[in-house]
């Protein structure tokens, strides 16, 4: 994948992730840290790509509708990875808020996952979220 495509994809990730974190009302430190770690460790973006993805020129003009439409066009496997990461961010603070639920349902519907696939992504997210704060450390 070319760097410009990588940046575009990373921008989609950061948009989806920050929407979930903001929907959770209190942005916990663990969510912030998890966003960057997931981008590099699971989605495989390099540091420089993650930085460029958050440059104003790339991210500032994109809305959540753009994000939904972008995620919809991704290959299924990649889109599911993004959904899993977003659910992990939601689970990281072990709380569920109305806008989090709505963002998750909109994202899942945009990707067109089946209920079974959605549950599978959520189980994976739950496992990763448990690893982030293994001993009930503060959020």
């Amino acid at each position: 994948m070319q760097e410009s495509e990588q940046i575009q994809l990373a921008t989609l990730w950061f948009l989806s992730a920050r929407a979930m974190a903001v929907a959770g009302e209190e942005m916990a430190a663990v969510q912030e840290a998890a966003t960057g770690l997931y981008a590099q460790a699971i989605l495989g973006f390099e540091e420089s790509v993650c930085r460029k993805a958050k440059d104003v020129e790339h991210i500032d003009n994109k809305t959540l509708i753009d994000c939904l439409s972008g995620v919809r066009q991704l290959p299924r496997e990649l889109a599911e990875k993004i959904l899993t990461g977003v659910m992990m961010i939601s689970y990281a603070d072990r709380k569920m808020k109305p806008l989090e639920v709505r963002w998750a349902s909109m994202l899942a519907s945009a990707i067109e996952v089946s209920p079974d696939d959605f549950q599978r992504c959520c189980v994976n997210a739950r496992v990763i979220a448990s690893m982030l704060r293994p001993h009930g450390a503060p959020a």
């Binding site: 960057g36 991210i59 109305p98 806008l99 899942a108 519907s109 293994p134």
Partner: protein, 273 residues
């Protein structure tokens, strides 16, 4: 700067303890850089405690890293100042644990402490004017020979490159970019989410609806809480998950009610016209 002078005299009028620690750090920078770092770390800790007591709830952990994190997340300490405070904390901890501090590193942190001090004074006494002069590095007790000067130059370059590297890693991990206005972006996202919530309440989601998502999330949250590493009380975990699910259901029902009321209003208006 002569031996009797100090960069930190202005602090006396704001916080005597912080001023004293800063002056001591300044005094030790050449002769005992480790002690300089202890003092700077203590200075930052004193500042963080004062800021926490003044501006935050009382249940914040008294651990310096946690205090700085909470102050930064609470928007009380801006990112630049927080970075400097964290750098002092890290190098102070390293010195406490026996890692020797080079003089250029201590000098760099002293300079950062000077900049933080100016900002700190403005925060603890709102409206106060603090015009900082340029930082005057304390002079060494004896002139440095050429070899030492060259070594200090190399250490300084190394410090600079470590800081650039650390900043790059940090920026890549954070959720927002350094040029972004986090408050404004957050406000915009909330507006968009609320608008999407309204649209979804009216039109529904075609495949995965919010009721289903809420149920799945509640079950997962229950399992996370049930994990022995998080407490492991099944009944408590279930109670909490059910409470959260009830709250979401209530929200969804309210959204539905609002939508129905709006639709009824529109129909009535159309009938009247």
């Amino acid at each position: 700067m002569s031996k009797q002078e100090t960069n930190f005299q202005f602090l006396e009028g704001f916080d005597k303890r912080v001023a004293q620690l800063a002056k001591q750090a300044e005094k030790y920078v050449h002769t005992d850089p480790d002690s300089c770092m202890f003092k700077l770390r203590l200075m930052v800790e004193t500042m963080a405690k004062k800021l926490t007591n003044l501006q935050m709830r009382s249940d914040i952990s008294q651990d310096l890293g946690s205090m700085l994190g909470a102050l930064e997340r609470g928007g009380i300490v801006p990112r630049r100042q927080a970075d400097s405070m964290h750098a002092i904390r890290r190098d102070g901890n390293a010195a406490v644990h026996g890692s020797p501090t080079p003089i250029p590193t201590a000098m760099r942190r002293l300079h950062e402490a000077y900049k933080i001090s100016g900002w700190f004074c403005k925060v603890i006494k709102r409206g106060s004017k603090v015009n900082l002069n340029d930082f005057a590095p304390p002079e060494p007790p004896a002139p440095l020979d050429q070899a030492t000067k060259s070594l200090h130059g190399k250490i300084d370059e190394l410090e600079e490159s470590i800081e650039r590297r650390r900043l790059a890693t940090r920026e890549s991990l954070l959720m927002f970019g350094p040029q972004e206005n986090v408050k404004e972006v957050t406000r915009r996202i909330i507006e968009e989410l609320k608008a999407l919530d309204n649209v979804a309440a009216a039109a529904g989601e075609p495949i995965i609806d919010a009721d289903f998502v809420a149920l799945v999330m509640a079950m997962d949250l229950e399992q996370i809480e049930e994990d022995p590493r998080h407490g492991g009380d099944s009944r408590q975990a279930r109670r909490e998950a059910e409470q959260q699910l009830d709250f979401i259901k209530q929200h969804l029902a309210e959204r539905e009610k609002v939508f129905l009321a709006e639709r009824t209003f529109l129909i009535e208006q159309r009938n009247e016209s």
